[in-house]
């Protein structure tokens, strides 16, 4: 595909369950970002992957959140023991450093609802 894809588009889960959100970046993009967008809030940085370097996890809000990126491509964001405050839209972006402006291309997001 031409753009960043994310799945599922919507996820409803019960409090306490684990969820996995998937991001498929644009082919060839070496940088991958996860952000969270809560209602009425801007995007909040979660984690950043660049090539084979150690990820920047400084934005993860708690140890219930983790992410991995396999083979420098697909990434999975895992939230364990979900809480109601985890309800938000989770956005993934990818970029190719060196491209003019290092533009981050965003996927459509996964809308997570914790009941």
């Amino acid at each position: 595909g031409a753009g960043v894809s994310q799945s599922p588009s919507n996820k409803v889960t019960e409090k306490g369950k684990d969820v996995e959100l998937r991001c498929d970046p644009i082919s060839g993009h070496t940088a991958l970002y996860w952000y969270r967008q809560s209602l009425g809030q801007g995007l909040e940085f979660l984690i950043y992957f660049q090539g084979n370097s150690a990820p920047d996890k400084s934005g993860l809000p708690s140890d219930r959140f983790s992410a991995e990126r396999t083979g420098g491509s697909v990434s999975t964001l895992t939230i364990q023991r979900t809480q109601q405050e985890d309800s938000a839209v989770y956005l993934c972006a990818s970029s190719y450093p060196g491209q003019g402006g290092n533009e981050q291309y965003f996927g459509p997001g996964t809308r997570l609802t914790v009941t």
Binding site: V4, A31, Y33, Y35, G40, Q41, G42, L43, E44, F45, Y48, Q50, D56, G59, L91, A93, P97, G98, G101, N102, E103, Q104, Y105, F106, G107, P108, G109
Partner: protein
């Protein structure tokens, strides 16, 4: 206090109006400034980015940065109903290998 402040609106204007969207920030390390547009249920898309202070124009859109005041603006001329969206400002100290810090977004409605 948030690093980036943005009036959430909503801002409602008639078609053809000039729209001014603004953000203020507190971190003097920010050097790169972006404006993203986000339609409902979609991911943000980059409209413009500028480096340091100055103006940049692209069609009906003009971005201004005043680092001395820590204030950035996006102007939309001859606004169209298709411009109705949420506009997010974002900024970062370094262009590569760095997260973006976003404002909360301003909801814009252009009435036909």
């Amino acid at each position: 206090q948030k690093e980036v402040e943005q009036d959430p609106g909503p801002l409602s204007v008639p078609e053809g109006a000039i729209v001014s969207l603004n953000c203020t920030y507190s971190n003097s390390a920010f050097q790169y400034f972006m404006w993203y547009r986000q339609y409902s249920r979609k991911g943000p898309e980059l409209l413009m980015y500028t480096y340091s202070s100055g103006n940049k124009e692209d069609g009906r859109f003009t971005a201004q940065v005043d680092k001395s005041s820590k204030y950035i603006s996006l102007f939309i001329r001859d606004s169209q109903p298709s411009d109705s969206a949420t506009y997010l400002c974002a900024m970062t100290p370094r262009l590569y290998g760095n997260k973006l810090v976003f404002g909360a977004g301003t909801i814009l409605r252009v009435k036909s």
